[in-house]
Amino acid sequence: MANMQIKDLTKTYKNKVVLDHICFTVKDGEFLSILGSSGCGKTTLLRILIGIESCDSGQIFKDEIEITNLDTSKRQMGMVFQNYALFPNMNVLQNVMYALQLKIKNKEEAKKQSLEMLKIVHMEESIHKYPHELSGGQQQRVAIARALVLRPEVLLFDEPMSALDADNRLVLRKELKQIQKEFHTTMIYITHDQEEAFSLSDRVMVMHEGKIEQIDTPNVVYNKPASAYIKHFVTEHLKEKVSSIEKCTGIDL
């Protein structure tokens, strides 16, 4: 668990401003979703936060310590990718324990911890399977276990459910919420799915064209959208969904 502070982050690609003076904070153990359409700069922001990419200017603090130029491996942060990025030549257990084993240099201990983690993500029965034998949802569970087993203080998600079907998303969403409660890990979650962002998060940050449009609780963003963009593309879309469910079920939501 850690808090984060992002001050005035800017990034430009080939004269195009991708991140425009981004400032926000993430509290200890908070679940923050970053919502925006593709090309709004959210993935770049995430990659800069973890150190895979560098920013042009600005600062990143974790627990009040500046980490802007710190090596990725020393940031104690984890990341789950959209396309799982599991190693195809390793089975489920090997995928989860590989990095831990390199880190603690104790195979038995790494195996023990990995098995525990796989139990938490309900993959304990598939430890000898290879990635190609798993469904998308199962692969993403393994990827989450691989990130969690290293006990990151902050865990970042880059649209982890965008390749999954609707049923799998619902189940995994619930499990993710459960995991966060259990581990109290600070989580930053990128998505373009309004429903996902609003149902999972303590706060939602809406981005548009490299800028933050609004950052607040789902309730406030839903009821008091700060800009026309949010009203158009976020709240109205959700309201439509809500009213169609109300129509179908007859329940007043």
């Binding site: 491996s73 990718f81 990025a85 030549n89 990095a99």
Partner: protein, 515 residues
């Protein structure tokens, strides 16, 4: 770690600059431009140039045509034994081009087995055309076959729904997908034939082509300056072919739907007949080596004998075979490591465009030109008379294709592995050792065998660089051919074929075992 990576990258870049860029620059700098006008006014040079262009244009059309027919047969008809055919069709690539020329000589040469009964021979222009087709069509076949296998059937379904005619479908769908492979095949084959001297040397007779002219200028007259100017001509098509590959975008898609084969017995029968007809002719040539190797006094009283074998073995065949194996193994090991590492930097480590272009630039340098540039640049150094120069020239000569194999395989792997490695504190060496290499094992084996087979059969790249101690086996073919000892040359070709077949067999066995 960062520092180590920078050192390795710097070393690789230096290697590319020293082994490709430097010799070429040295060679161009040493040109005596007075020779240029002399050469241009020489009638024999102009004749050779005209012959080269004529032979190359005709052979390229026929070679790519045959390759297209074979690739079409494999991918679009219900011909039986497809996997067998896929193995057999590329087999002519396992022997040097000169061997194809010699094979034709034994059958259709001045005193050939068939020409005696037929009453005519094909020495000269027709021989060179046929010989050029024989060794170049498998190259075009592999390129086109690859193109066919990546075609997406959805487009055919769309054209059916839109009511396109067969011709429109071919124009709008097939050709659109195959444009790049067809043009690639044309460029590759054109370059190959234009720069080859094996076939015209063997069966050209008085029909001189540019590479033969170059070979004679350098080997016979030691006229390096003229040689260099001729080699600049040889560079032209290769350079355009290189530019084309660099600039042309591919239309193939990753997610493909397989093409459903329609039933058409007549088509299948005709194409089966044509395919086996072509293969029969090709293997007749290879078979003639076996016949020639075991027959003594072939013109007057053909009798079974092992005298040619004993002669070849008595004349240090095993020493030269040892040289070739030694060179090829070193080329395979170091060539694979170097090209794989370069591909790692260009495909996985954020671009390095300059390094990529340098690595594939050897595609634009014909073997003879490369060999000549090494001769011009290093002939006064200690390096010149060593195995090392033969190993390096081979690595550089064949690096581009092997590098592209590694580059494509590494590019296909998930692009987030490096991100994961950074986040999870997995070092580059661990990532290479435990993730990237295990997931590209098949490609690495293919690269290894590609280097090995080509290093075994190359003549052009090493023709100017060997000495009596370092001479590879393939050169022995030219020597025997020069002394009109066709049976002995056939034996050497046969041995090279067997060694390469074994290597191919080992690689496909290992790849199949893995599944």
């Amino acid at each position: 770690m960062m520092k180590k990576r920078t050192y390795v990258r710097f070393f690789l870049l230096l290697f590319l600059l020293c082994t490709i860029f430097y010799p070429l620059m040295r060679m161009v700098c040493k040109i005596n431009w007075n020779d240029f006008s002399k050469l241009m006014s020489s009638l024999s040079f102009r004749k050779a140039l005209g012959n080269s262009v004529l032979v190359t244009c005709l052979s390229t059309c026929l070679s790519v045509g045959i390759a297209y027919l074979l690739a079409y047969t494999i991918h679009r008809t219900n011909i039986k034994h497809k996997s067998f055919l896929k193995i057999v069709i590329p087999l002519p690539m396992l022997i040097p081009s000169i061997s194809h020329g010699l094979g034709l000589m034994t059958l259709f040469g001045a005193n050939g087995i068939f020409s005696r009964s037929l009453g005519f021979n094909i020495v000269g222009f027709p021989g060179v055309v046929i010989g050029s087709i024989l060794y170049s069509f498998p190259v075009a076949f592999l390129i086109l076959s690859d193109g066919f296998s990546y075609m997406d059937n959805t487009m055919y379904e769309v054209s059916k729904i839109l009511g396109f005619s067969r011709w429109q479908t071919f124009k709008k769908v097939t050709f659109c997908y195959l444009k790049k492979p067809i043009l690639s095949a044309i460029f590759a084959v054109f370059t190959l034939i234009f720069t080859d001297y094996g076939v015209p040397l063997a069966i050209g007779g008085k029909f001189n082509t540019l590479p033969v002219y170059l070979y004679k200028e350098v080997m016979g007259l030691l006229n390096f300056s003229s040689g260099t100017i001729i080699s600049l001509f040889l560079l032209i098509p290769a350079f355009f072919s290189f530019l084309f590959d660099l600039l042309c975008k591919d239309y193939t898609t990753v997610s493909q739907k397989k093409y459903p084969l329609s039933k058409n017995k007549r088509r299948d029968r005709i194409l089966t007949l044509v395919t086996y007809g072509i293969l029969l002719f090709v293997f007749l040539i290879l078979g003639s080596f076996v016949y020639y190797a075991f027959i003594d006094n072939i013109v007057l009283h053909p009798t079974f004998s092992l005298t040619h074998f004993s002669y070849v073995f008595e004349n240090h065949l095993l020493t030269y075979l040892g040289n070739s194996l030694w060179i090829s193994l070193l080329v395979s090991i170091f060539g694979t490591i170097i090209s794989y590492l370069i591909a790692y930097f260009t495909a996985r480590d954020g671009g390095h465009k300059g390094m990529h272009i340098l690595a594939i630039s050897s595609l634009a340098i014909p073997g003879m030109v490369l060999g000549l540039s090494y001769t011009v640049s290093f002939h006064n150094t200690y390096f010149y008379n060593t195995f090392l120069i033969l190993v390096i020239v081979n690595i550089v000569h064949f690096m581009a294709s092997a590098y592209l194999m590694a580059y494509n395989a590494l590019k296909k792997l998930n692009s987030n592995y490096e991100g994961i490695a950074k986040v999870c504190h997995i070092g580059t060496i661990h990532l290479l050792k435990d993730v990237l290499i295990p997931n590209t094992k098949k490609t690495i084996r293919e690269m290894f065998s590609y280097f090995f087979i080509n290093a075994m059969i190359t003549i052009s790249a090493v023709a100017f660089l060997y000495n009596t101690k370092t001479m590879p086996l393939s050169i022995l073919i030219t020597n025997y051919e020069g002394n009109l000892m066709l049976a002995e040359a056939a034996i050497v070709s046969l041995i090279l074929f067997i060694v390469n077949l074994v290597m191919k067999g080992i690689v496909s066995f290992l790849n199949r075992k893995e599944g």
